[in-house]
Symmetry: C2
């Protein structure tokens, strides 16, 4: 985690310290305690003053020194949405690290927006956690500046979009996972293999489908665009897109479902059409949620080590907090692995 930092980052770090709190105050035409109040997220500052001070903090790349920053024994965990069974695995990972280090976890949800609201950033600034782990959720420029000026480190887990080269992030080898899932189906003898992707705005779902295409191409199989559908990682679209794929006259004999919930929706579509898994249709999921073992038939899936990824993200953000200079570009991808259960078999003899 403590890789050598590029020279560029160190230089930026030094220049950031040139403006002091007193200089910011002078330039803003306010007292130093007022700047301090803004930094501490106190409510008793006029909105216009606050905006002016924030703007100057950002312009000067002001960064609070360690000694000034008294931290609460908290770590913030922010989700894009709490709907998924997925979220629990992540919470458990962050909770494990928090318990080891005597911290408590503050949980919030950006409620369907991909960046948390302005109020959220103010609350974080006010409670001064040791760090922030963002799950499938990015920060805009002003939010990043706000956290940086308070010396609150952050790490993005499994980025939905391109987090930018200098944002530390923890992901999984999504492309490799899509490749492994599809190669498994090819090795079983399938040649018409469909896919249901997650939302295209998420890098992880793009990477999975690209891995699927790479497997087809390297095996010399045609990639039929009609066999690739876009979902949203929920059960419902697995069902709907599954029905469309399976009602085609040239239906696929195997489908890479993008994630486990979509695989369960696909199971339902198959049942409705009287198709048996795996005799008539092979299905591969992605994630390996607990439920993958429990469904009938137990699901072949690509295991994503969600709890370990969350642990790594929490440890990284605490590392960054201990050594402020090391906020260098850090991108870690943990390995995915294929777990073969009972939802995949050789294609039916037609």
């Amino acid at each position: 985690m403590t890789s050598p930092q590029p020279a560029e980052t160190r230089t930026r770090g030094r220049s950031a310290q040139t403006a002091t709190l007193a200089e910011i105050a002078r330039e803003a035409g306010v007292s130093a305690p007022t700047v301090s109040k803004v930094l501490n997220g106190r409510a008793d500052v006029a909105p216009a003053t606050r905006a002016r001070v924030e703007e100057l903090l950002r312009a000067h790349g002001y960064r609070r020194r360690r000694a000034e920053a008294t931290r609460s024994p908290l770590i913030d965990l922010v989700f894009h949405e709490l709907e998924s069974a997925w979220a629990m695995e992540v919470i458990r990972g962050v909770e494990n690290v928090a318990r080891e280090t005597g911290l408590s976890v503050v949980l919030s949800e950006s409620a369907g927006r991909l960046t948390p609201g302005r109020t959220w950033a103010d609350q974080v600034a006010a409670r001064r956690p040791h760090g922030v782990v963002l799950v499938l959720s990015g920060l805009d420029q002003s939010q990043r500046a706000l956290l940086t000026s308070r010396s609150i480190p952050f790490v993005v887990m499994d980025p939905a979009g391109d987090p930018g080269g200098d944002v530390p992030s923890i992901g999984a080898t999504n492309w490799q996972g899509g490749l492994a899932a599809t190669r498994h189906l090819i090795e079983l003898g399938h040649t018409r293999i469909g896919a249901i992707s997650g939302p295209t705005r998420m890098m992880c779902s793009r990477a999975r489908v690209d891995g699927y295409r790479a497997a087809l191409e390297t095996a010399g199989l045609p990639a039929d665009p009609g066999l690739v559908r876009t979902g949203d990682f929920h059960h419902e679209t697995g069902y709907r897109q599954g029905l469309e794929l399976l009602r085609r006259p040239d239906r696929p004999t195997a489908i890479f479902a993008g994630n486990d919930l979509q695989a369960l929706g696909l199971y339902e579509a198959a049942r409705e059409l009287g198709l048996r898994v795996p005799e008539d249709l092979s299905v591969v999921g992605f994630d390996d949620l607990p439920v993958a073992r429990w469904v009938g038939p137990p699901l072949t899936t690509v295991r994503q080590p969600l709890t370990e990824m969350a642990e790594a993200a929490a440890r990284l953000v605490l590392d960054l907090g201990r050594d402020e200079g090391s906020a260098a570009a850090t991108r870690v991808e943990l390995a995915t692995s294929l777990v073969v259960r009972s939802s995949t078999a050789a294609p039916p003899v037609l």
Copy 2:
């Protein structure tokens, strides 16, 4: 939520205010600021002093006045364990109320013990949340005293044990749910009905099985003790106890599985033995987790409004915090309801 309080509670409330902080300090032989430090969970107090002050606070039933207690914009949510898919529904409910009221949720886990550790209570005292929601997790006497002395209200959701008459709690009508599940099976024509309960130390699982027995007795059916097995609310025991029940020569034609995860384990046991659900075996779950709709066949289950229960618990704890006098006995049970899907049918004709 603001029901009239019993006289006893009001009296206790008055006498609690007779000892002041200065008096506690005098009796402990320390300064008033030292007592204040203990109340604020500060680390710079000798352990022996701290213990003496805590003991006196408890003995006098000291309760911090509203004006003294500056609260952080936090609400604490404590789980017995974060394993269950169940937990997500609860987190979502508390998160909903927190968002409405501008609070953030601090999540912790009592890690398999049924009361959270001492360190946890100290951390809560130090961060001064608006309130604490405990899920399937009780507090011991000294923890209760500690929160009470800091005027931090708490509510227990779905108590595992008997929380005591004066602990505010939110539950569901577990007994009614067990009754409704079993009556549904009786109405379909089943006469040999098994049950897999949750752990017997949890009141909710006892109540469900008692409802099951009441349904059998009021229908004039014998309650065969050999058909009732004890699980732990996890998939694995549903599977193991399911195998034992289904291997009996006089196997039941229907089983009330205690919760949804045990029902899924039971599905697996039935598959392994070549029994079809619902043709050979009817299954009823409890909870109505999202997965209940997704499995094959979709599960008939008793819906427990987990998200609404969590919302009610969060609202209650905030109400208690706003009006300190109202910490009267409060026990709310939200209604459960039977959701009939495809895992139940008339018994096989033998």
